[in-house]
Subunit: 340 residues, 2 copies
């Protein structure tokens, strides 16, 4: 009753103003509803977007023959080049170089010793010449020899200061807006979203939840061996300078089985390193979505040579075209690339 | 209107009968509500039950200084002896022996070859004499050399026919009713419940969801190496006769970090093999629950000798008593042991 009286008073006092305000609010509300009705608003209309939506609608529609129960809705995503950019080199490379530079004062001998000398002098040719053995030595020096807690702090600290050389922004800003929307769209439809990446699992976990909404327990990646130890009466896990698991190529379906124990019904990648993950996903029964991001946008992001040694996308693209997997043409399919 | 008339007719026709029925229904309803109000109805009242409930209430109460946000609510459970029985030997042992017997017709040489001969003749003394090397040979023969899909089917088929020697029931009936209630109680309060067991991960995953409500992706265990292969154009994961990971003792905190990537706030075990998992859990900041099941009930289950070589519970019990961890006295604390 009191409320009714107040409304009348308000209405009498500024009747026209009130009406205009109400109409304005209604229009804004309708616009907002229209915008939020498209969960993939950064994707241009077309075959790719349609294929994604059709798949999600079918597997979630209880009366569809393609219905999949929620516990089976597992979607796995490569990280570098699929969820965030990976040029000019995968971002964990920048982290590694910065760690060598940060540790250099404690290792004066590195000034004269390869492959450390190459990094300190930004000599990429000498670094490449150090080959896989050199790379492994650098990775072990920068990624092992500390506790898991110490490494987590190193990664978090680095992310707050490091900037991408081209975009001059924190690396975690270089995530793909259309893929953020896709992750949220899948989760909103009962999917569990997993990262399955060749990158280091402990390099991704400290920020995956904040940036992608993917919790640490849903990140699968490469790892070093860990050792449980007592240090001053407190238990710690030491990171040992020894590879435990390489989650790349044929390692991806292995990682999926080890860490998830179910076959995904949707898998997302962008290179030959993702081929076996997509093959493994495709080989299951029932509806499937296999999607590959093709980097075709030199202006807003990068256009890759499919034969490039770093991010080879040759066999996977062939197989995608042959088997009718979904290929994202970044230039054509994405309205926006980055959130900024 | 029609409904109202019907009620009146009913009321007039059998007024007294109707009233008695209604009172009966209300009483039944109240009783049911009282029963369902206790999520741990198979636990006797006492310190142990109080400690569990107090912990859960504190970490879920937003106005408590001990509040823990839902994503941090990770609880890890040992399996053998903590969620299901493990006597006279851990049940995966029975599976292994049955597999040797099932495979024997294809291996006539086993009749004369240890350690297979020992199993075929039920000669436990000769089996023990084969030591760790013998045990490993048996495990690899029975747990490797097939695809992951084939192994899953073998485990599932075995479970439908195998019976426990003492209780003459399927092994999955020998789960602890109080622990099933505890799992549901924790999940109902926003916890993610994980198995962290020394047993084989692929031996547990085929039934963990149905029996415990724990999905395959929340099972951490020991494993053999896997290899991705193409077989008749179809991708398979082969189980190799090589240990990948032993999830026991100091391996448990390692497994937790590898597979979950977060420290639990509650951990449950029953032997020295769980000690490091409980130490790792206890060493985190904020409220913690460390619980050990002490097998004290020779009548309904088993009473163990803490010094027994198979399920040693010596250091862990010492540390539990010294640090005030929760110890379940099975005989005293459990109203019921098994669901049957």
């Amino acid at each position: 009753m009191i409320m009714k009286k107040n409304w009348r008073t308000l209405s009498r006092r500024g009747n026209r103003c009130f009406q205009i305000c109400m109409i304005f609010l209604i229009v804004v509300g309708m616009l907002a509803a229209t915008v939020s009705a498209d969960p993939l608003s950064s994707w241009n209309e077309g075959q790719t977007k349609q294929a994604i939506i059709k798949f999600v609608q079918e597997v979630t529609n209880k009366s569809s023959p393609k219905y999949v129960s929620p516990e089976q809705r597992i979607a796995t995503f490569d990280n570098d080049g699929t969820l965030w950019a990976e040029q000019p080199i995968p971002f964990q490379g920048f982290f590694t170089f910065d760690r060598v530079k940060a540790l250099a004062p404690q290792h004066p001998e590195w000034k004269e010793r390869q492959p450390f000398k190459a990094i300190l002098e930004n000599d990429m040719k000498a670094l490449a010449a150090a080959g896989e053995k050199g790379a492994m030595e650098i990775i072990m020096t920068t990624h092992a020899g500390m506790t898991t807690g110490e490494f987590e702090k190193i990664v978090k600290d680095w992310l707050t200061t490091a900037k991408h050389p081209r975009f001059k922004k924190p690396f975690t800003d270089l995530v793909y807006q259309p893929m953020l929307e896709l992750l949220a769209y899948f989760r909103g439809n009962g999917f569990k979203t997993y990262i399955v990446s060749g990158g280091g699992v402990e390099f991704m976990r400290p920020w995956s939840e904040k940036v992608y909404g993917i919790p640490p327990e849903q990140v699968v990646g490469s790892s070093v061996k860990l050792k449980f130890e007592m240090r001053d009466g407190k238990p710690v896990l030491m990171r040992l300078p020894e590879i435990d698991f390489i989650d790349d190529g044929p390692g991806k379906p292995v990682g999926i089985q080890k860490f998830i124990g179910r076959r995904p019904i949707a898998a997302f990648g962008n290179s030959d390193g993702d081929l076996q993950m997509l093959q493994w996903t495709a080989a299951g029964e029932g509806p499937r979505l296999m999607l590959l991001v093709h980097h075709t946008d030199a202006e807003r992001e990068w256009a890759y040579d499919p034969q490039s040694s770093m991010q080879r996308f040759d066999k996977a693209l062939d197989e995608a075209l042959r088997r009718g997997w979904t290929v994202v043409d970044m230039k054509k399919d994405w309205k926006r690339v980055f959130p900024f």
